[in-house]
Symmetry: C2
Subunit: 345 residues, 2 copies
């Protein structure tokens, strides 16, 4: 395949690409853009103006609307998406990491559009997917597939392994890393830590204030349970060095779970709920434990010593690295170019 | 000009077109679509599926999102707008009565797009107008023009005069008709009614609950001040037959003010604040009074007998009828077709 095809990566504009702290979709769009550049593709990244990339950056929104509340999200999204589509003719492919909105522009251009569905934000958005179901879609885990959609492939998210170096020495604490939201089961992590007699360190943005106040804050004593706010890459690595395991006891199906992979990359086992993608991302008994309830999670805490940090790292290198992701997307792109060739001939 | 050019009218999908009760933008889109059909144009109305029209109706959203709360407004808007633009090639002109979103699709089609700006819903939407400032715009009053935009014309909204028959007999009550919202000055209407010793009847949807509870409800006694909820055309005519005047003491600039015209059509004088379009719509001393404060409004109440209902009606017939509006838009369309001719040759 000719490597100099031109790819537009359409990242969200909620946060910078890559995000400073939280922002999974922007993280993946960034990793993909940089990975494609490294492998010789001509890449244009549509993202916020303050984004950092080796690709060509195009932006109409200076700062993420989550970082600058004076910006109306709908306005930012419309301006950002339309800018990419107005330049469609310059690209062989538009690869959207956007929610449903970008699809509604897709039939107005001749350039093929690939959408990585990072999540169905609500059942109310399904009418858009129903209308645009003849589009090109990628799922981020097999479990996250919607039964009514056809997908070209599942491409697992890939992380920059150099950011999360292997640390062979395990600490004794338990760590929760993620949004403070009932979906992420912070309250279950607290319960498991208490029953295990382990310290728990909680890090992440508070997305549900009432939940934090009622189900998390009352247990914070700064010793047995502590909350340290959102953390950047350095902060994550510090947490990983203290961790016996990361607890990821999600209460709704996980779509992928970047933090599981980041922990494993650093050699930290993950105790994850058997719900959604966790069983695909964590190899049960090899890179952590996939559990069905609190008592299984408490048992798993006692068995974290059985997990080899090197095994954790090795599996991430094989399945969840930027290289693995980029090569998977290259195969998807090749499929699309093959299907489009007759139309463009 | 060839009359069989094909026009797409893009109505909002907040409410049915025409709306059952409240919905000014949908009312104007409806009046224009029906008026154009009557004058021999080939008209396609993009609106909710339950809309009523003599034009060809196209819809992807069955019911207005304000009438069916299970619908996500952003999803409905994206699907609705994109549907019109995906069929752009079928039309000589797309005439959008939409907010800023439709503009972001406009450069992806070859068909010219005319936008009637029914209002700037927020200063945050201005970046969209700045980007698409080379588009075709119409203002609904001279006072509603944004200084940084170029407009083809001001076209006043037109109403179906047959819906609001002239009633030569005036009643003694004062009437407020509009959204219950501080912008509309319901509290000022109450104040004027009390100082004038007149009864006030309030009709309209409650858009600001706290305002209603604090500034309106305490004065409702069912006799001196009464609130009857939203009203349809029949309900409006009943109110007009009881009215000495309609009070329209808006606290922010009025953009056009359909209700002023409806009242005048029925022969009812309007006492309106000198703010925004009121001075364009109401001829001071002839079809009502344009006032600067409460005390001027109280004085005006005493002078409503000086206003001739026939004069009120006549001015609406001349300036604010569907026919007047349709003919103005025909002149705007002709300008656009003339400018577009070289591009399409």
């Amino acid at each position: 395949m000719k490597q100099r095809k031109s790819i537009a990566i359409l990242s969200p504009v909620a946060w910078r690409t890559p995000p400073r702290q939280y922002g999974a979709w922007e993280t993946v769009a960034s990793n993909l853009a940089e990975g494609l550049v490294a492998r010789g593709w001509d890449v244009t990244l549509f993202a916020t103006g303050d984004s950092v990339t080796q690709a060509q950056l195009r932006s109409v929104v200076p700062t993420g609307y989550e970082e600058d509340r004076s910006v109306d999200p709908k306005v930012a999204e419309c301006l950002h998406i339309s800018e990419a589509f107005e330049h469609a003719e310059e690209f062989d492919l538009i690869h959207s990491h956007y929610d449903f909105m970008a699809l509604t522009y897709s039939r107005l251009v001749h350039t093929p559009v690939l959408t990585t569905i990072h999540g169905f934000s609500s059942p109310q958005i399904m009418p858009v997917y129903e209308k645009y179901r003849d589009g090109y879609f990628v799922s981020i885990s097999d479990s996250d597939r919607h039964p009514s959609l056809r997908y070209l492939a599942t491409v697992y998210n890939g992380i920059d392994l150099s950011l999360y170096p292997l640390n062979d020495q395990r600490g004794g604490d338990l760590v929760f890393l993620g949004r403070i939201h009932p979906d992420k089961g912070v309250h279950l992590a607290i319960d498991v830590a208490r029953r295990s007699g382990r310290r728990l360190i909680i890090a992440g943005i508070i997305q549900d204030d009432a939940y934090f106040r009622e189900k998390v804050e009352p247990f914070i004593d700064g010793f047995n349970v502590s909350y340290i706010g959102p953390v950047d890459v350095e902060g994550k690595n510090k947490l990983f060095s203290q961790a016996a395991a990361v607890l990821h006891l999600n209460t709704i199906p996980e779509r992928f779970g970047l933090v599981l992979v980041e922990a494993n990359a650093a050699g930290v086992p993950v105790i994850a709920m058997d719900c959604g993608s966790c069983r695909e991302v964590i190899a049960d008994g090899q890179t952590g434990f996939v559990v069905r309830d609190i008592s299984q999670a408490v048992e798993a805490v006692e068995r974290t010593g059985e997990i080899s940090p090197k095994d954790c790292r090795r599996r991430v290198e094989q399945l969840f690295s930027v290289d693995a992701m980029v090569q998977s997307y290259e195969r998807v792109y090749a499929q699309i170019f093959e299907r489009e060739a007759p139309k463009r001939a």
